[in-house]
């Protein structure tokens, strides 16, 4: 089959690889009909994530048809022919964490648990198409994928919904939703959201669904701010204001937003001195992260407010205003998305026409065209918001 492989920093390429096979009894094989490039794939592309290996198949947002199931899969939950969306987190369904609905913290799905354990004290769940520290599972930017614990994760999709309407249930829609839920929104609240990429856009829509009265969206690309505006948010282009924190306070009667959502993560842009230092340290590999959005969240948030962090971070950071965080009595909520908690309720919202997630799509390409889309997406060229791949489409160039 064809698959997109990470071949090194800024090197993604389409490779011919063997079709996946069942390795464990609870595995299934999915014939992929739609798959996407995620913002967190850009962290891999840019070479900022340790424990990648040349030849790793990337991609963690995919859906398709079940073509084979292992002997240990509960047939009442999944069988050949089912059309499913696959969540990017892998969970066993039986451990303490799965029982607590903390699906992205499953104890039994990372075969390389010890690497994460040494770096973080414990390991989160395994992920598709990501680093070896997170399990090193082959990903879904391919024609087929192997899905472990297949009777736990994959969500069956009823007829009448198109792939493009439901494929984002694999990651960014639930991730944006959990980002908004982690804001502890109460009716009438004002929520500030950094980053108007796909997750940020879903967080904006979800914040309104959860009762926010005002959402303030922050980015620097006019086309992305335009999309945020269309979703109902007020917007700030941070490159056009002197002091972002002051602007947020000015817009909220000096109080600050009730909640601040960091939908940017480790590769934030910026032009302040701390940012320059972070950037230099990243280049020298002294640090993986540039946490300037998180710093701004702490400074801008109202006293006693909540910071939600759906953005991905890699490791140690410094110059975090911790005293400010403490003295303002803030709460921080974060984590990889507990996918299985959200997929079904959000599918219902789609069925009830309360949201059509396909609004974020800007590019539709074949697998052969996908590697170059990484650059387009990273450099925000061609108004790129979200790239969806049809792994069976013929390349337009061919």
């Amino acid at each position: 089959m064809k698959a997109i492989c990470w071949m090194g920093k800024e090197k993604m390429s389409v490779e011919d690889v063997p079709d996946p096979k069942i390795l464990n009894p609870r595995d299934a094989i999915i014939r992929i009909t739609r798959t996407c490039i995620c913002g967190s794939d850009l962290h891999l592309y840019n070479g900022f994530m340790p424990t990648m290996e040349q030849g790793d198949i990337v991609g963690h947002e995919f859906m398709g048809e079940v073509v084979e199931v292992g002997s240990g899969v509960n047939r009442e939950k999944l069988k050949v022919g089912d059309r499913v969306v696959v969540p990017f987190t892998i969970a066993c369904g039986n451990c303490f964490f799965c029982n607590e609905q903390l699906w992205s913290l499953c104890d039994n799905s990372n075969p390389n648990y010890w690497i994460a354990e040494e770096m973080m004290g414990n390991s989160p769940s395994g992920l598709f198409g990501y680093t070896h520290m997170m399990g090193g599972y082959a990903g879904g930017q391919a024609q087929y994928a192997r899905v472990p614990f297949a009777d736990v994760g994959p969500l069956k999709i009823p007829e009448g919904l198109s792939d493009e309407q439901v494929v984002f249930l694999s990651d960014i829609f639930p991730t944006g939703y959990m980002g908004a839920e982690n804001c502890n929104i109460r009716p009438g609240d004002t929520v500030a959201i950094w980053g108007c990429g796909p997750v940020g856009l879903f967080a904006i829509k979800s914040a309104f669904l959860l009762g926010a009265e005002r959402v303030i969206a922050i980015d620097r690309f006019p086309y992305r701010l335009q999309r945020a505006k269309e979703a109902g948010a007020e917007t700030i282009n941070y490159e056009q204001v002197d002091d972002l924190v002051q602007s947020l306070k000015d817009m909220t009667g000096s109080m600050g937003p009730d909640s601040c959502c960091d939908a940017v993560g480790m590769e934030a842009a910026g032009h302040t001195l701390p940012f320059m230092i972070d950037r230099a340290k990243q280049v020298m590999r002294l640090s993986f992260d540039r946490p300037n959005v998180f710093r701004q969240c702490i400074m801008a948030c109202r006293k006693g407010g909540t910071i939600s962090m759906p953005g991905v971070y890699g490791g140690l950071v410094d110059k975090i205003p911790l005293g400010q965080f403490m003295n303002k009595g803030l709460t921080l909520k974060t984590g990889q998305t507990h996918m299985m908690r959200y997929m079904k309720p959000l599918l219902e919202l789609i069925e009830q026409h309360k949201i059509d997630p396909s609004f974020v799509i800007s590019h539709r390409v074949s697998l052969d065209e996908a590697p170059e889309m990484y650059k387009t997406f990273r450099d925000k060229q061609d108004e790129c918001t979200k790239v969806v791949i049809d792994p069976w489409a013929e390349s337009k160039a061919a």
Partner: protein, 262 residues
């Protein structure tokens, strides 16, 4: 004569061991520095990993551990909470033939009667080491104590305890296994080079035990598809401290059926 050399002189072959150890260490130092130097020439993200790996190996080689050399025993302890009833955890363990499913250094355990069993483990260079063991004490659903019978090539003592975990989270399992053998027969070269102790390996075994009982299988990516690998991948694979035996075809297959509850 210092106290250290007194202890060492109790073994006849200690002098030989020490010499071969020195040359191995010199080799490790060269290899470590080589990997680190090669790493420095790299542009990509692998640089940090290579330099770190090389430095670790080199520092191991430079470490003076003459005290450790005098010991040929290892003791591993670990504890883990498994989300199953005590009876289930106990009975799975009590059938020693299940142990190789999650203890990577074991090839097989054959149970001959209620108390006796024959153990086969992988030693250095895939050499097999065998011994007989007997259960010397047990309390159903609470504790098992077993040890190698007298006169075996290897001396082993194992204790495992099962108690109710706090907060109704299943069973808390504590295990302690010690081995004594001439020349540290069950050493894992990769693990040792990376500075991992026997308890590290025991923790990985207990993770697999937990996954087997909770999820019914041990998570794996062994045998999955991938694109062209670089030479580095082979190096990292060889340096995996959780793989006690160097991979070969037979071993990989042996692993495949060991990953699940039968």
């Amino acid at each position: 004569m210092t106290r250290g050399s007194l202890t060492r002189s109790t073994s006849f072959s200690s002098q030989d061991n020490h010499e071969s150890d020195s040359s191995a260490k010199f080799g490790a130092l060269l290899a470590g520095l080589g990997i680190a130097a090669l790493g420095l020439t790299r542009k990509s993200a692998t640089r940090v990993a290579m330099v770190a790996t090389g430095a670790t190996i080199a520092s191991f080689a430079l470490r003076d551990d003459s005290a450790e050399q005098s010991q040929s025993s290892s003791c591993a302890t670990s504890s883990i909470i498994v989300n199953v009833p005590r009876e289930r955890a106990y009975s799975f363990w009590r059938d020693f033939s299940n142990l190789p499913q999650f203890m990577n250094h074991l090839k097989s355990v054959e149970v001959s009667d209620g108390r006796h069993s024959r153990w086969v483990a992988y030693g250095p260079m895939n050499k097999e080491i065998e011994w007989d063991a007997e259960i010397t004490d047990e309390q159903e659903n609470e504790r098992i104590l077993w040890q190698s019978i007298e006169g075996s090539d290897i001396s082993m003592l194992g204790i495992v305890e099962f108690t109710e975990a706090a907060g109704k989270r299943g069973t808390l399992i504590k295990v302690n296994i010690s081995y004594e053998s001439p020349g540290g027969a069950l050493s894992n070269t990769a693990a040792k080079l990376l500075g991992k102790d026997p308890s590290f390996l025991m923790r990985q075994d207990m993770r697999r035990f937990k996954a087997l009982l909770e999820a019914g299988e041990i998570p794996t990516t062994e045998g999955q598809s991938h694109g062209p690998r670089s030479l580095l991948s082979g190096l990292f694979g060889a340096m995996n401290p959780d793989e006690p035996v160097k991979k070969n075809a037979g071993r990989s297959l042996a692993n495949a059926h060991k990953r699940r509850v039968s």
